[in-house]
Each structure stands twice: as structure tokens, then as C-alpha cells.
Symmetry: C2
């Protein structure tokens, strides 16, 4: 049974879509005032290029290469690329952006600095390339698309075949795919070609008209004519490339530039023993209409396209067919972007195969829509990327367009800069940590997205992280202790730290008898299990027995046990402690607006809400302030209506509570807070044995230092899962970056 028959005879529920994907995207860094290629070095904050898995340099120092890990789906691959693009965009100097086009802006060879890699071999190899092809050619950028068919899929096909050896089967399978890719890649050039012109000075002889894809034509990144490699069979393919290397036509096997490359081993000859593992498709121009350089639709269409290639017959005269297809591709690549496909293009063959795959395997409607879109674009060339790009050519240049798009994508990255693009659904602290992880080149896997559970590793060193700061650095019993307020209080007390005095009662009689001890004191009566919830009575100036008894009844109506605690007056601050050191202090104040004598309260709220830091549902550092019933009542109690103009300098609170979740402000107090309180909070965390810990202290006067004998502060809560993002992006103050510190302590060998 031939390979295509194998597919055509396969059951319709074969897991045909099963595959893994990897994307590599190159882009030049551009200075945003000169709009020339950046002359700055690769950002130091990215650390050592010798191991960075995501952000590398390609040919030149200014040409970043963004590499995704292996993804289990096309969506995951694009999500990786989106995040890595985001990190790269926010890591390069802020006055630079990534060039969105495959063809570089106007540049001279002098501007192109060969990548300053550690490896002498890599530097020599790049020197060789500049001699053979010229530095300008090397500054073209594109996207490489790696794909491996799913293991179950390949196994099923293998079992239905007459093959005895899986290695032979896979080699034949991937070679067939590569052959057919070369036979039909002209369709991809037509659909996705996006290098219509070269800027002045790039070509010795300028083109007389825009084309579809310079990069995919003979002007592009191709070997010289004397490099001829047969695709008839694997042995021949290997031998041909080895001969080119032996006689110096190629400096190394990897210098063989084909639109598709067999992958899985460093040396081609190893495929005979170990088998080809996956394919690398290298023909994609950057799509300037997408900030990632490639769209979801394109990735899925190419995936479907490869399945159609498997479905198709193999030709009986491979090398001739490929040669013919190369000529067809050249015609299309150098054709005008509004030209239709040439008459001799075997459109029906490939379209029939695409449709057959969708039908045979009853693929979801989405894949039918992809086929329909190809048809539409074949019929209407102006809908292709090349066609759409045409109208942006101005004076035979795309420089203005490239500058505008590049700057727009730069602005997009910085717009909600706290979020990691692609991962906005995860908790903000986890997004921030993932940003750092990608920036520092630490490997990651999301073990459970809903649970914010990450696996991070560098070499053999593995760390697991949940919620951005729950790690192996903390021991198990301490968070369990902190979960229990009574236990926490006992441990703090036994270690000599100030906590509100108080007692727990399980019956009213004993609680009433306790009145003698608290009758002249400010107290809080609260049910044991809830905090700041129902059933709480506060007596700031002491109370009488009747009121006390009523408070007991209220609290007992909520729980079997209650706490009678000393009421602590003062302001509450949150101290973030990491590894024995206070890294941030935050003051949270109730949602409020400050009058300017011009705007109404409603308008002031709207202005405050326009801060990009404000959003919804804890996915932004601050929450949108609502003018709901609670806020309107609060205003009314102060004698205001929402449409009143608030006098200049008058501050109106819209809430009693200071929670960030109800629109409260976060104010970075790290620098203002007296060091003695930071030390006190750090000492508390250390006494508890906590690595990360949020310490809530009530402090009457933060400018008056804490002393051991008179702490001037009371601890009302310890938090074993302290929120980090609120310290980093604040309503007032510069904020404190915490996730990089967590990461540096988890992986000291990387920083």
C-alpha cells in the first residue's frame, strides 16, 4: 500500500490532526528615531545566548530570533510565539521596535554587525555567509515552521502499512511530505508571499514592479546554482549534500537552503539509522498585518496543506517535477501581487486533496472555512497578504508602513505592560513570573493552567511554582500554620511579636465572664471562622455589658466559636517578605476621587478608570471603580451626588473598605516606611519560618520607629500566598518588581 493509499484507506476517526509544532521568527531591531537598524548590542538582561531557548540572535546582532518550544497544537505554538514576541518587544531598549517586514528597511552593509556570539565557529560561519551571499541578503527575515506528525497517528499508519521498520516508514513518510511540499509550495508563496519590494540599495538592479515574494524567488536566500540536490530518495539526498560540503560548494550541511528541511539529527546521514523526526518549512515571509508575523489561520492552513500533501500521490519523476514546481514558484514569486495564479499551476490537484482530507476525516467546520478562504484568495489576488500590502507601497518603499506597523506593535506590547500577551487568562502574578522566565531563558511547562501550576527548569534543575510564589523554598507546615489564625497568633505571641490580645470562646457564659477583662478596652467581637465578614462588632471606645452580650449573640449566630480581640487603631500596611528581607510595602486606600474644581464625581471616576492599570476580575493591577449602590450611598452620606463638581483638592471616598478589588488605590510605601518596621515584618516571617510571606501590620505612625520593647505596630494577619502584582503596578509610587527576585532565588545559576 502506498503512503497516500494508507491515508485514503484510514478510518475517518484516525487522529489525523495530531501533530506538534514549533515556530521560529526572525526580526530586525530598529531604532525608533532614526528608523535604521539598531546599533545597540543584544539586550544584556536576556543573559547568556549560549543557552537561551527563546530569544537568540540570528545572523546579525540586531536580528533577533524568537523560538517557541515544541507545542502540542497550533494554538499553543502561536500562544508561545505571542508571549515570546511580547517579552522581546518589552526587553529591547524602549526606543527600539521589531521590524514587521521580511525585507529590511534601507540599510548598508556597514550597519549590519555580525552577531557577537561566544562561539568562534558560529562567528566564522557568519563571516563565510557574508562573503558568499552578502551581508544585505542575510538581513532578510522570515518564519520557519516546524512540524512533527503525532505519535499515535504515525503509529496507526505504520501498523496499517506493510513496513517492517518504523525508521524506514518515517523516512519515507517525511521524504514524501518534503517532495510534495516542494511540488506545491508555490501555493504558499501565492497566499503568504509578503516581500514585494526591496528598499533602495538592496538590489544591484532595482525591480521595475512590485512582486509577490522577493524572498521566495531567486533573489532570495537560495544556494548558488552549482548546489544541486536530488530528492528522489534519502540516500541520494544525503550523498548530494555531502558531496557539496566535501568539495566546498557548501561550508556545512546546514548551508543547504531548501524551503523544506529534514530534521531530527545534526547530520543527514544519521537519518538512515535514526529516522527523520520532523520537517522544517522555511518559506514564510513575515506577515506585517500580524504582530507575531504569522496568523493562526496561516498556521492551521499550512497544517491542513501538509495533510493534503500526504493524501496526494507521489510523482514518478520527483526531481523533474520539483524542478518544474520551482520554476512555477519563481514565476509566482516574481509575479505582480495582483496577478492570478498561472494557468499551468496544478491548482485543482492540491485543492482536491485539501477538500478530500476535510471530507474523509470529517474535520471540524473551521477547516472547511480554511479551504474556502484559499479558494477565495485564489480567485481574488488582492485578498492575499501580497495583494493587501500593495496599497501600502509608497514611492517604491514600504518604509513608512513598516515604521508605522512596527511602532504600533511596540505600543501594543507596552499598552497593558503588566500582562503577558497570550497568557492574559492566567493570574497576573503568574503572567509576570512567566515574563521573567521567558526573558531569562528558563524552560517552562504549564502543568495546570487553571491551577497556575508551572514547571520551570534549567538543565537538570527543576522547580515547580504555583501562583507565582508557592515553591519548594517554603516548607509545608508553615502555610498550614498561617491558614489557621489561632495557630498563627500563638506562634507569633510565643516568639514575642505583637498581636491583638484576645481570647476564643465556645460558649456564651464563659465569654460573658470575660467581660471583666475587656470592659474598658477597645475590642472587636467576631466569629472565629470569618474575617471582615458577617457577625463582627467593633467597640472602639469600650462597651457595656448589654452591648457586649448583643455582640456575642450576633457572632454566635455565625459560628460555634468567637474571638474577642483588642481593637487596634492605626493604618494597615502590607509588607512583602522574601527570604528574610522586606522587598515591598504597600498602603491600600479605599476607592476615591480627588476634586479639581472642573469635573463631576462621575467624570473623575471615568478619568481614574481610564488608567490602563485598571481592569476587571484581578487580571489588571487595579480594578475599575463602579458607581453602584454602595458607592452612591457612600456619596450621599457625605452630601454628594455623582454629578456634583468636586472642588479642587477635596478627596471623596467611594467605599468604606480599602480592598483593591472594589476599586481601592495601591500606594507604594516601600521607600517611605521606616526601616524598623520592615525589619519587624521580616523578623516575623523569619520567626514563622516563611520564605515568602505577606505581613499585615497596623501602624499608628509609620514615621516613628519600631523598637523591640515598643513595636508601635500590631500584626493582624500573615498571608502565605501574598499577592505580588499589586506591589509592582501601583496607583501611586514606582512599584517594586518582585517576580524577578523570586526567579533569581529559584535559579541563582541563571542570573
Amino acid at each position: 500500500m502506498s503512503l497516500n493509499q494508507l491515508l485514503q484507506n484510514a478510518p475517518s476517526n484516525l487522529p489525523i490532526l495530531q501533530a506538534t509544532f514549533g515556530l521560529e521568527r526572525e526580526s530586525l531591531r530598529i531604532n525608533n528615531s532614526s528608523h535604521n537598524v539598531a546599533q545597540t548590542p543584544h539586550p544584556k538582561v536576556l543573559g547568556n545566548r549560549s543557552f537561551h531557548p527563546y530569544i537568540q540572535t540570528d545572523y546579525s546582532e540586531a536580528q533577533v530570533e524568537l523560538i517557541t518550544p515544541i507545542a502540542q497544537s497550533t494554538r499553543q505554538a502561536l500562544r508561545f510565539l505571542e508571549a515570546i514576541t511580547d517579552v522581546a518587544g518589552r526587553t529591547i531598549p524602549k526606543d527600539e521596535y521589531l521590524w514587521p517586514l521580511s525585507m529590511p528597511p534601507k540599510l548598508t552593509a556597514d550597519e549590519i554587525i555580525i552577531a557577537q556570539l561566544d562561539s568562534q565557529y558560529e562567528r566564522d560561519y557568519r563571516q563565510h555567509l557574508s562573503k558568499v551571499y552578502g551581508k544585505l541578503l542575510q538581513s532578510m527575515s522570515g518564519i520557519h515552521y516546524n512540524m512533527e506528525l503525532g505519535k499515535s497517528l504515525v503509529q496507526s499508519l505504520f501498523e496499517q502499512s506493510q513496513y517492517q521498520s518504523m525508521v524506514s516508514f518515517k523516512n519515507d513518510l517525511y521524504l514524501k511530505l518534503a517532495q510534495n511540499f516542494l511540488r506545491y509550495r508555490w501555493l504558499l508563496t501565492y497566499l503568504y508571499g509578503a516581500s514585494p519590494i526591496a528598499e533602495q540599495g538592496f538590489l544591484d538592479t532595482p525591480l521595475d514592479k512590485p512582486v509577490r515574494s522577493l524572498r521566495n524567488s531567486s533573489y532570495g536566500y537560495v544556494n548558488h546554482d552549482d548546489v544541486k540536490v536530488s530528492h528522489e530518495n534519502l540516500e541520494q539526498y544525503i550523498a548530494d549534500i555531502e558531496r557539496c560540503v566535501a568539495d566546498g560548494r557548501l561550508i556545512a550541511e546546514k548551508e543547504f537552503y531548501s524551503p523544506v528541511r529534514l530534521r531530527g539529527s545534526k547530520h543527514n546521514r544519521d537519518y538512515l539509522e535514526k529516522g527523520v523526526t520532523y520537517l522544517e518549512f522555511r518559506c514564510f515571509d513575515l506577515n506585517p498585518f500580524d504582530n507575531k508575523g504569522i496568523s493562526q489561520e496561516t498556521i492551521d492552513t499550512v497544517h491542513l496543506f501538509t495533510l493534503a500533501l500526504l493524501w496526494l500521490d507521489v510523482s514518478s519523476a520527483i526531481d523533474q517535477d520539483i524542478e518544474k514546481a520551482n520554476q512555477l514558484n519563481e514565476t509566482i514569486a516574481l509575479g505582480h501581487p495582483l496577478d492570478r495564479l498561472p494557468e499551468d499551476a496544478p491548482v485543482d490537484e492540491i485543492m482536491t486533496a485539501l477538500q478530500a482530507v476535510v471530507n474523509h476525516f470529517a474535520l471540524p467546520d473551521y477547516y472547511q472555512s480554511l479551504v474556502d478562504k484559499i479558494k477565495t484568495q485564489i480567485a481574488q489576488p488582492h485578498l492575499t497578504i501580497g495583494g493587501r500590502l500593495l496599497k501600502h507601497i509608497n514611492n517604491q518603499s514600504l518604509e513608512t508602513f513598516g515604521q508605522e506597523k512596527g511602532q504600533a506593535y511596540h505600543d501594543y506590547a507596552w499598552q497593558a505592560h503588566y500582562a503577558l500577551k497570550g497568557y492574559e487568562t492566567m493570574e497576573l502574578s503568574t503572567q509576570m513570573l512567566l515574563f521573567d522566565v521567558i526573558q531569562k531563558g528558563i524552560h517552562f511547562e504549564i502543568l495546570d493552567e487553571n491551577d497556575q501550576f508551572l514547571k520551570l527548569w534549567h538543565g537538570d534543575h527543576v522547580e515547580y511554582v504555583k501562583n507565582g510564589n508557592m515553591t519548594a523554598k517554603d516548607n509545608y507546615i508553615i502555610p498550614l500554620a498561617m491558614e489557621n489564625k489561632i495557630v498563627t497568633k500563638k506562634i507569633l505571641t510565643e516568639n514575642g511579636f505583637p498581636v491583638p490580645a484576645g481570647a476564643e470562646f465556645a460558649d456564651k457564659e464563659t465569654a460573658l465572664r470575660y467581660f471583666f477583662q475587656i470592659q474598658n478596652k477597645a475590642i472587636v467581637v467576631k466569629p472565629k471562622s470569618t474575617n471582615y465578614g458577617l457577625g463582627i462588632s467593633i467597640f472602639k471606645d469600650g462597651t457595656d455589658l448589654t452591648s457586649y452580650e448583643k455582640a456575642l449573640d450576633i457572632a454566635f449566630s455565625e459560628d460555634d466559636s468567637l474571638l474577642v480581640e483588642e481593637y487596634i487603631a492605626g493604618t494597615e500596611y502590607r509588607f512583602f517578605i522574601l527570604d528574610g528581607k522586606c522587598e515591598a510595602v504597600l498602603l491600600r486606600v479605599a476607592a476615591n476621587v480627588l476634586g479639581d474644581g472642573k469635573h463631576s464625581i462621575r467624570e473623575l471616576v471615568a478619568i481614574k478608570n481610564s488608567n490602563p492599570l485598571r481592569g476587571h476580575n484581578h487580571r489588571s493591577p487595579l480594578e475599575i471603580i463602579n458607581l453602584g449602590d454602595i458607592e452612591l450611598l457612600m456619596l450621599a452620606q457625605q452630601g454628594y451626588k455623582p454629578d456634583d463638581i468636586l472642588p479642587e483638592g477635596v478627596k471623596v471616598n467611594l467605599r468604606e473598605n480599602s480592598n483593591i478589588s472594589t476599586g481601592g488605590d495601591s500606594i507604594d510605601f516601600t521607600d517611605k516606611m521606616d526601616q524598623s518596621y520592615k525589619q519587624l515584618a521580616a523578623d516575623m516571617a523569619t520567626a514563622m519560618g516563611a520564605w515568602t510571606c505577606g505581613v499585615d501590620l497596623i501602624i499608628p505612625d509609620y514615621s516613628k520607629p519600631a523598637r523591640k520593647s515598643v513595636p508601635n505596630a500590631t500584626c493582624i494577619e500573615l498571608n502565605f500566598n501574598p499577592c505580588m502584582y499589586m506591589h509592582t503596578y501601583c496607583q501611586e509610587g514606582s512599584g517594586q518588581a518582585l517576580t524577578p527576585k523570586i526567579l533569581a532565588k529559584l535559579f541563582p545559576e541563571v542570573s
Copy 2:
């Protein structure tokens, strides 16, 4: 204002009952065949006597002294004593028991081996005592009752007084208490005296009749007549004792044997500077009717008695009054147990004071009932302990009674030997750990009883423990990983361990498409979030698409996501891993009975349930088997009725599931299981990074070794809070003690 006026003028809601308590109980170890004093050394398992806070030796090697920590209430004090008594009872050799009476059994001086303490001073001191008082006298045992008035109580009284110095105030307060204690202690002798006779050979001249309390009479443990100490004031008291020591009448201050002793400093003179902290009442005979030697009622009555002593006036001629009271006490102590109190006993004074305290402070009804009981016992001497003991005297001996009671208390301790007496409401594994903690002499505090949260310490070394095995030895992230089944599976898979293959689906279409991959396999379809619960379908022999789809619908009706997993055939075993080593293996089988050809199924169930290991609600190692609807249905399905006689050797299951909680059997497989599986389970825990961990493996044939390449086992769950007790007390097999191993690893310096 005098001290008694202070109390009488205090507000009724003064926290009058606030106090701390400590109990010390001595007892002789007795060999249960000879019924003589044990000649064995103090048990080695108790470790070093130089620091053991709970179980010490008093005068002789066979005289254990049980010491409670400071308790915040009388209930807590007795609970401590109960637990320490339990631990002591189960730690001494199993053929020994604790003598329940103050007076020793018949014994000779030769049988009394002076305690083999490390300290030369302590050994010399005991040699001195034997010379001065004789070894026999030293073998009497009793209970010392320590009490400190509550800090808030003392503070309130101090504030209402005219005292300027708290030290003077406390010294006067406690001295007054001690004075009045000596004036009225005859009442305690009457109520609690329980040493009516001496066994043959103890006294040179035998008594002619039973008395109330030999031990509290001049026959008891008293200094020689030349030791005279005034209680007029503290200075005089200190000077008198110092003079006795200086001229050799006493070898040390502690040799001054008073029924009440001032406590808080090693040397009496320090009280002048530092103040008396608490009092030690030393007059209590062991109550043989209580396994702890003292009852709750007695402890509370004595507490109330001390408050009445505070309420009473001070006499103007202290030493004379005390001397008179001593004579009264001697009369009562040497009176017949059925004698009423002498006419000249000032009963009304003390009874009025007791009643006044109850009334003035509106104490709970319980305290009124204590007063009423005293009145009854005063009226009816046969109701006192001494009175009740009378009828057990046989041939002028209490030996038979003492043997019976001692053996009964011994049997009680061993009856539900998995439980720690006094702490039966806590989880069983925590009870077991607390047993070890007390046995090894590690300090403990229950920080939260409902939460099973303990603080343990030895010197400066503190450890917190929850549920018996959650400690600082485990890191925080690993239990969080184990809590998430998907994360656990990923980590195990990535480390090369066998888990059931499978996939998670959030939509039916994708799940249906997966059918191709599982159609010929044994599978389980289950909702993601539940385990062994609703919505699970098992296909042990593969399935067709229709049944598969139905199973998907059922699972999706329970959860948004479902898992399709390989079904693993075999038997499930639980491996308990501690610190990289498998310490126990358990097989759990469904509730069942085995026929003997004589009894009905119902009778067989009753016989099985009579095992003391079976109880209710996880407070016993095994649960009572119910014959409820489920069990009856299960029987009917097998063709049985509950009253059928089951043939010999026929085993009938009463449940499908093998949970211990539904009456399942635990079978210790630690020795039977092939070592290779123990290693595999330990390797899994190590790969996860877990210190304690329960590993559930499905093993088709446990006698066939696991190999790395063919593990012959699949891990279906890891448990971060593995139950320990079920490994220790099993239906079959010897069981594995795990809590001592936990403790030894937490406190290596103690073992």
C-alpha cells in the same frame, strides 16, 4: 483592705476561676505474677531521665513519677495526667502494672532499689533519706497538686489593693493561702484520705484498726520533731528553714516536708526578691478508685477550696492555729474511716466560705454540686474515699484489692491500645504521635485541637506537626502538586514512572475523536474532578462507539471535563514512604466474613465486630461492619441471607469497595511484598520530592519483581497526607509502627 476583704469586695465577674494547674503522681511498678515491687530498671525506651518532663523516677527505681505540664484548666491537667498515665502504663514491661494505692504492697527494704539517676547528688540525697526516714517510708506514693492563680485575676486584685509592689502582694497572697491551707487541710484528709492500713512489716507496731490516712498522719512522710518552721511571715519562714539546713536538721531546703510548699524559686530566700509564683499541695493520697489516682471532682473541689481559703480571714495567731489544726488533722488521719469529723473541727467556717465564693461569683452549678457533695460526705463518712475503701480490706490487707485494681487499670490501658487516653477525640494518627511524644519526653502544645496542629519542642528545637505527618520536612509545592491529579501524573510521567495512559477532554467532539486510540483497550471514563464517585464508566474489555459516547455523556453530566484513562487490572496496595524509604505496605480488602460451618453471617459479622480494633468514625483502626441495605443487597446477589450458616472456609464479601471506612480489612503486606515494588514506590516519592507520601500501586502479581523496563505496576494515586494508623493496627499481620519513625526523624537528638 485585707486580702479577704479584697476578694469579698471584688466584682462578681472577676475571673475568679482563672488559674493554672500541674499534677505529679507517684506510683510503684509491680510485677503481675509475684505482685511484688518490680526489680526491673526504669524502661529504656523513655530515654534519658535527665530531661524527661513527664515520666521520671522518684525515690526508688520502681517508683515512677508522672508529671503534667502546666495546664490552663483543671480539665486539661487531668487530661495530661490521663495521657501520661496511659503512656507510662503501656511503656513499662507488659507484665508490670502501677500500684493504685499510696501504701505499698508488702515489701522489704531490700526490694527497694534507689533510683539509678545520673546525678551523684540526687543519689546521695536519696541515701540520706533512707538513713533518716527509712527506705520503706520512701515507698509511699501520693499526688502533688500545683496551682497558680490566674495572671489577670492576680493583677485585678493587686490593682484593687493598697499594695505598691506586686512581689509583696503575691508573697502575702500565697503565704495567706498556705497558712489557711494548713489550718483547713484536715478537711482534705477527711475527704480524700486513702491510706487506711499498712501491709505487714511496714510498721514496727501494727495499728489495731484501719485509719483514714496513715500517709497524712505522723506515721507518714513528715520531718522529725526538731524541724520547726514558723508561718507567721515569709522572713521568719525562710530563716527557720535555713537554720535547719545550717545545723544539719535538714540536708537541703527541699527536705522540709510540709503539706503545702511555696514554689517558684529554688531557694526560699529568692521569694523576697522575685515573689512566690505558685503553691504545691502535697497531701493527696492516691485515689485507688480512679486509674489516674485523682478524680476531676477532687481537682475542682480543691480548686474551690483554695478560693475559699482566700475568702476566709487570716488568723491573728498563725503558728498556734496551725499547730491546733495539725492536731485536728492527726486526729482525723488516725481516726476510723467511718468516724465523723470531730466536734471541734471548724466545719462551718470553711463550708460558709465555700458557699460564699460560689454565691458571690455566681459560679456555675457544677461548683454548687461540689459544695453539696462535701456536705454529704461530711454527713456520711462511708461515702468518703477512706470509707469506701474499708470494705476492700481483707485480713488487714489491701493487697488483693490493689492487685485487682492495678491489673484492671493495666487492662484498660491495653484495651484500645491504639488510642491515647484523654485525647480520643483527636485523629488516631495524632493520638499515636502524641503517645510517642510523651514517651520520649518531648514537650508539646496542642495549638489547635480541631486542626490536629501540634507544637513539639526539645530545648530550642521546635517542630510543628499537623495530622501526625505534615511537617517542615516536606516542602510546600509538592503537596500542592499531589493535590492536583493531572499535575501528579505529568510529573510521574516525565520522571519515567508508570501511570495510566489517558487524556483529558473539555468537549465531546474531541473526546469522540479519541475513540480511535482506545477502541480495543480496557478503559475508564470519569469526570475530572471526582474519583471513584459518580459518572464513572469502566470498560474492562474495550467498548464500541455507542457505549463510549454514552459514557462520555454520563461523565460530562458530572463535570465540564473528563478523563479517558487506561483501565489497570490488578490489586491495589498502599505503600507508605518516609524519607525515601518504604516503611509499610498495606492491602485493603472489602468488608467480608469467613464461614466456619457453625455461625450465621450475622453472627460472623458480630464476632468480627467484637475485635477491639473496630469502632466508629475513624477513631479506631478499623470500622464496625454494618449489615445495612448495601450489604444485604450484596449478600442477596450472592444468594445468601444474613441468617444463613456460612459453610467452613467460604468467604463472602459484604461490599464492593475495599475502603476501611465501610468495614474493609487491612492486611499488612510489608513483609510479603517484593522489595522491588517498595523501591519503586520509594523512587516515585523521591522523584516527587516528598518526605512522607502514600503511593497507591496497582500490581497484577506482587510476587513477580518490578523491573525498570517492565515495572509490572501502575501508580494510580499519590497521597500527601497518608493515613498512618491503618498500617499500624491491622486486621491481619503484625502492623508497622510509623509515628515513632516520624518523631525520630524530627528529633534525632532525642532518640
